[in-house]
Subunit: 313 residues, 2 copies
Amino acid sequence: MITIGLDMMGGDFAPLEAVKGAAAFFAENHTTVQLALIGDEEKITPLLATYSLPATQYHIVHAPQVIEMHEHPTKALKEKQQSSIAIGFHLLASGKIDAFISAGNTGAMMVGALFSIKTIEGVLRPTIGAYMPRENGSLGLLVDVGLNADCKPENLNQFAVLGSLFAEHVLKIKHPKTGLVNLGEEEGKGNILAQATYPLLNENKHINFIGNIEGRDILIDKSDVMVCEGFTGNVVLKLAESVYDIVKRRNITDEHFERFNFETYGGVPVLGVAKPVIIGHGISGTTAFKNMINIAQRMIEVDLTEKIKESFK
Amino acid sequence: MITIGLDMMGGDFAPLEAVKGAAAFFAENHTTVQLALIGDEEKITPLLATYSLPATQYHIVHAPQVIEMHEHPTKALKEKQQSSIAIGFHLLASGKIDAFISAGNTGAMMVGALFSIKTIEGVLRPTIGAYMPRENGSLGLLVDVGLNADCKPENLNQFAVLGSLFAEHVLKIKHPKTGLVNLGEEEGKGNILAQATYPLLNENKHINFIGNIEGRDILIDKSDVMVCEGFTGNVVLKLAESVYDIVKRRNITDEHFERFNFETYGGVPVLGVAKPVIIGHGISGTTAFKNMINIAQRMIEVDLTEKIKESFK
């Protein structure tokens, strides 16, 4: 039995959507998973009855405080020790849960992941990625999307390994193709960072490096893992998100562009920390929560953390 | 009478589309413009008759050589002195034409612009931008989109001024709003470059600075001029271009997404050099060529070069 901690108070539609997400997860028969529902017991309990969660597969961990979206991450985590996020990281650090998921205050989740949970030895900087939908139905992973605004070549080289391990073991892509986001295809192109990163990726035995990719390749399946510093990655992610908004505003119905609704993916893990931590989109709904629990389960089952440790030995 | 030099041999569909573009331009009655059609006389002449260009409004400048798309820019420019691009820059530098347009080898155009034509005094680095279509029908300008992959805060500060002058005088936007592309809205967010650029833009009296903008704001009309280094800008431009490709592949017909067909804009000027130079997309068609001639005419008529000189005094 594995235990996944779920912050019931995180996200704009908490706790209702978190409860519905948990119910949707169990509706697909995950008998090996126990959920630790972390949040305000009084608010959660009536919803659990309504949505018929299987009684043997969850337990409530009461958390009387909530870190609100606008709060200062470090300050809030320090002052609100009884918040669902603080308790979640406490449970994760002490081994009472095997993964922790929250769609709450992103900054507090980052601070918690980086300071409550240790970075895996050898990892210079953990990273956070985002899925990019492709027309063939697959998902690519863009790393970093904002955690590391300024990077060194060694950082990008490590993001490539972390992203590849996630793509291989969690997204189930064999020998994931890894591309360096750049402004031209030819080797030698790029800013100083990209130019210096290329040879590192090219010599890296842990990844399947296919060379530079351009902006036009991000939304097609040229590579499975796309590596860049968090500044460019963040701009790209938010631009791609805005395409969905435009499509909706213009009443365009299209199966592929539906997949630009990044909310449905729920969230992506913080890669490089010693335990599975998943940070969700603030506007996560039922499907997002369900997907996040699924990803956490898969990360635990394939022991992604151990695989990362081995790669960084 | 103003004279605009047009490279008839540049672009994938040269010289036919260049001729059709010139014909389309004159069909809209531009009696004050004389075109210098630079290219292989034998190839151009029969087309001019077919498309009925007004005889008094053009002259042919014979150029027996062509710099092909794949050629090394500096080498080709040096060795092919009789190419349409080399002759074009010679005519521009000597004052025989008032602007030069080409959809040919981009690298050769850049080298020509930077070395045949002087940079305006005070401009540290010229820049090249791209239009971004907005749902309200307007165009925004993203600068830089690849000419300057590594930048200092002073460079971005100057791009903001150059972009604002272009937006004001050529795109006819009053007090163009200028935003700094960043990964968060709040002041203090960003990588080291963006953090150091913010106060410069904030104190810059030549621009209407509205603060940071995020990836999601690039395709809406939050700001008219969007400033970033050429690495991020290039990735953003090519990503936006690829959205059009996806829309087409999926047979989506939508008036707004039609405007993501960047080919129709033709090209954008190199901002910061002492004479108007416009570099077109390789796959420029009739409309693109017509639009480039229009933009060149407007740049000359409003004397954008002089306005830039005044700003940088």
